[in-house]
Amino acid sequence: MKINIDILSGRLNNKITADTEAGDFLINGKKKQIDVNDFTNRLLGIILSWKEKMIGPELLDGESYCVTITDGEETASFYGKNSFPDNYDEFVLLIREVMNK
């Protein structure tokens, strides 16, 4: 399974890529020692409630996110701009956790 996460938060951009088969985990192009399977399972539990597209008002420096999960031929993708799923706080927590490791 391959995961691509791209979050634009105001001026800041964070890009995460993970590959469960290779065990690779990159944050902004840099390799990190993260348990990819554990991360993937938690992410799958979170995105389970997400809608594919959520669009809010246009704001300067708001937040947009794009999460793409590819498994062989299958893809699930989620995009949001200034509009968020109910459990977005859990997603933010997960991202903060891996970024601070």
Binding site: R11, L44, P57, E58, D61, E63, A76, L93
Partner: protein, 587 residues
């Protein structure tokens, strides 16, 4: 309004008394001719500094700030010794050194102090002295210290450190500890309430989902299944029936749905389509009463948060009193999302028109001065300077922000969205470039607003090496076009086609960050040139180097050629550009 003082700064009102100095910094960078405009726009901007409570209490936040300060102070103090390096920094803290000095003075050294003496010895670089021998026992360390001719040198160094600490930093530490004690009761009450609310609501929704599953289950639910099915029904209720029926997803997600459906007594194998076509099952999952109750809990969370959150209440009060023309609810929604959802955003901005005088104002929601940094704040203030009201047509306002024209409020129409989509990246790159330059001027002038010193490099700054030459060569024209109330002025001067090319380059180049190409190109350049730092400041020089680059890196580098072409074309057009009445026009 709530007030929390940290180092004498009210973190919810850090602009207090500083607006003039900030304005002067903008004028110093942009030029005297824009004094009136800049002063007015900054005066009119409403910046609300807010705390996004994410479970971390104010006392912990100030403690963390103290830790960050101490690390800087240690650099200041230990940095006066010649062999102090980042690597050695980890072994030494000011507290340890002060403690050691105390022990030496009271002659109470123990064997445990050996490692501390060793790190003082190494970190502070007494290389010319005799190193303490390894593995000394308590007696040994005291004897070494007593007999050693190093003693005086070390004592002198430790005393020097203690003197530096006492002459300024000690007082600052004491003041910060005092600030923690003085956190107002209001803040503590807000934290207490919010901590409780978030936990209770999420559990309530999941418990509701689980009760529904248990009521409708066809068999006993194992412990391992319980967590999955609980979260799955919670997710389906959040997502809604329509989204579930139409979504395109992966088997791993469908498997979770199927586990729930099996528990509910429906087993059609592994094909999710079968389940989606079973009305009976859908009626159980998306039960109307269940959905109503689920939404009721969600709404009660929003309501409870709003009622408990003094930061929200304070900001809401401001929104109610600044005479926003039109409905204020969309602004309150933005405020709520800013506080509770947009997890990583430090500051964002929008616009409103004052219904009493039809004047345009920038509205900025910003994290308090403990979390916000000056670079981010200047970025938003620069947006304020570059924004204005253009016209009012058929009851609708049109406003500008830099190169973009859109509709107030909150640019929700298709026309605005298209314009934003096309020019936003270019607009942000230029805004960020200018605002960081202004922030440098402010720093030079000792103007400091926020307490957070660390500003992570912005996405837009990744395009600075590509755009810097163009921006610097045409600074006067670009500034003029962005500060005047004509969003398309630059497009007119460059020619629409050339301007669009510039916007395309911005979009494409920044998309290289998203697709990791820029990071890969950076890594390749580092590898093949041996240069470790500042790759992005000197990209251009790699284009003509006799090195075989990968296709991806070639593509990144090719954008420098594209920018060169645009620059050359504009140089030719500039021959026909004149400035009259404070405005550039093409003849």
């Amino acid at each position: 309004m709530i007030s929390v003082k940290v180092q004498g700064i009210d973190i919810f009102n850090p602009l207090d008394g500083k607006l003039k100095k900030i304005t002067d910094s903008f004028i110093e960078y942009y030029g005297e001719e824009y004094r009136e405009k800049i002063s007015e726009k900054l005066m009119d901007a409403r910046v609300l500094f807010l705390c996004k409570y994410n479970g971390e209490d104010m006392s912990t936040r100030i403690e963390n700030y103290l830790v960050a300060c101490k690390s800087k102070w240690e650099d200041d103090i230990f940095g006066t010794f010649p062999y102090y390096t980042d690597k050695r920094k980890t072994h030494l803290t000011i507290d340890k050194v002060l403690e050691l000095n105390k022990k030496i003075k009271s002659k109470k050294l123990t064997s445990l102090d050996y490692y501390l003496i060793e790190s003082v010895y190494e970190t502070l670089g007494f290389n010319n002295l005799i190193k303490p021998p390894k593995s000394m026992d308590e007696y040994g360390i005291r004897e070494w210290f007593k007999l050693s001719k190093n003693k005086n040198v070390i004592i002198e160094a430790l005393n020097r450190i203690e003197y530096m600490w006492n002459s300024g930093y000690k007082q600052q530490e004491a003041e910060l500890l005092e600030d923690i004690k003085n956190i107002p009761q209001d803040v503590l009450k807000i934290e207490q309430k919010l901590r409780k609310i978030a936990r209770v609501c999420k559990n309530k929704q999941k418990d509701l989902a689980f009760d529904h599953i248990k009521k409708n289950a066809s068999r006993k639910i194992s412990d391992s299944e319980a967590m999955v099915v609980k979260n799955t029904l919670y997710s389906l209720l959040s997502k809604g029936k329509e989204e579930f029926l139409n979504e395109r997803t992966i088997s791993a997600v469908n498997d979770q749905y199927i586990t729930l459906f099996n528990v509910l007594g429906y087993d059609f194998g592994s094909d999710i389509k079968e389940y989606k076509e079973c009305e009976e099952l859908l009626d159980i999952v998306f039960n109307k009463d269940l959905i109503d109750e689920f939404n009721k809990i969600k709404n009660s969370l929003t309501k409870a948060r709003i009622e408990a959150d003094g930061y929200y209440i304070g900001a809401e009060r401001v929104l109610d009193t600044i005479n926003i023309d039109g409905d204020t609810q969309p602004y309150k929604d933005v405020l709520y999302n800013y506080l509770y959802n947009s997890g990583l955003v430090i500051a964002l901005a929008t616009d409103y028109i004052d219904k009493l005088c039809y004047k345009h104002h920038k509205l900025v929601f910003c994290e308090d001065a403990l979390a916000c940094d000056d670079e981010t704040l200047f970025h938003e203030l620069n947006h304020a300077i570059e924004s204005g009201l253009l016209s009012k047509n058929n009851g609708e306002y049109y406003f500008k922000c830099g190169f973009i024209k859109s509709r107030v409020p909150l640019g929700n129409d298709e026309e605005s969205r298209n314009e934003i989509l096309k020019y936003q990246m270019l607009n942000e790159i230029v805004n960020d470039y200018f605002s960081l330059e202004v922030a440098k001027v402010a720093r030079k002038n000792n103007v400091k607003i926020c307490l957070n010193d660390y500003s992570a490099p912005s996405l837009y700054s990744k395009a600075f090496p590509l755009f810097k030459k163009f921006i610097e060569n045409n600074k006067n024209i670009i500034v003029n076009c962005r500060l005047l109330d004509e969003p398309h002025a630059m497009a007119k001067l460059m020619g629409q086609e050339e301007f669009d090319k510039l916007a395309d380059i911005a979009n494409q180049y920044l998309s290289f960050v998203n697709s990791n190409i820029l990071y890969e190109a950076e890594a390749e350049i580092k590898n093949k040139t041996g240069i470790k730092k500042a790759v992005f400041n000197s990209y251009e020089e790699y284009i003509n180097k006799n090195i075989e680059w990968s296709d991806k890196t070639k593509m990144v580098l090719s954008y420098y050629k594209k920018m060169d072409e645009i620059s050359k074309n504009f140089e030719t057009r500039k021959l026909g550009i004149v400035k009259s009445n404070g405005k550039y026009t093409i003849q």
